[in-house]
Subunit: 138 residues, 2 copies
DNA sequence: CTAGAATTTAGAGCGTGCTCGAAGTCAAAC
DNA sequence: GTTTGACTTCGAGCACGCTCTAAATTCTAG
């Protein structure tokens, strides 16, 4: 299928598809017609989806490239691939934790504003994080 | 305290402190000495910490600026502030969910590699996401 | 008083991940 | 055959969030 069709099916723009290819995010080169146009197969789409999902976990392009290199190098480096994925997993867990922690600040502030609005808007002083005892939120 | 001390205490570089100020991430202008050097007070640090934590939830600078503008505008816009925070909260929850979903792909792949390595490395075919029935992972 | 460290400004530079433009080639419908 | 739209490459451009430089000034310790 054409690059346009591949873009439609993966939800990635044709620009980005070509960019990913240039960036080395490939495991096997995409087929080309005699005139040089790309022709995608299902496995190409599957790989693009993997890239998309790795990106969605915040894996940088260069790391996905490294992973792609390991995959295309074939057998024998499974431990390296595993190490790469596990190392990234640690980062993802850290980011999840950070996000959740700071979401609490957000929730706290939202609670303060809700209370203040319900109560008819009382004082305005505030503290940075969780209330030390008494405090509002900016 | 000096900007250097403020940087030390907030964990933000002096460059970034000045950048935040330029970017409008201020609720009250930082004091200046007669000669023009910044002198930070505890509330300034508290606000910087709020900014840092909002940043950590992925809130863009321009949104924090908007929030700062609302705060410094004073009373009467609490509903706007609440709306801003709640809207951002929705985005944070979405990103948390996305992160968690794609973490599952990561975990799945890690599981596949662990199994393959333990088993002494079997076949190499693969599927993009969760295994449809039988498949390994790239 | 003086040396060295810290601070000031405005503006440039950078890393990341796209996103787009230009100029040309190709393909499918008519 | 011709048009219309999709495709090609290459390089530039952009948005974001810092990060750094330069040159001048100010502060602090001895």
């Amino acid at each position: 299928m054409s690059i346009g069709e591949a873009a439609r099916r993966t939800g990635v723009s044709v620009h980005t598809l070509r960019y990913y290819e240039r960036a080395g995010l490939v495991v096997t080169p995409v087929d080309r017609t005699a005139s040089g146009q790309r022709r995608y197969q299902q496995p190409d789409l599957d790989w693009i989806n993997v890239c998309t999902r790795l990106r969605a976990t915040g894996m940088p392009i260069r790391t996905i490239r490294r992973y792609a290199e390991l995959v295309s190098a074939g057998h024998g480096n499974e431990k390296d691939r595993l190490a790469l994925l596990e190392s990234h997993r640690v980062e993802v867990l850290a980011r999840l934790a950070e996000l959740q922690e700071n979401l609490e600040l957000l929730d706290h502030k939202i609670g303060v504003y809700r209370g203040r609005i319900d109560a008819g808007d009382a004082d305005q002083l505030w503290a940075a994080g969780r209330p030390p005892a008494t405090a509002a939120a900016r």
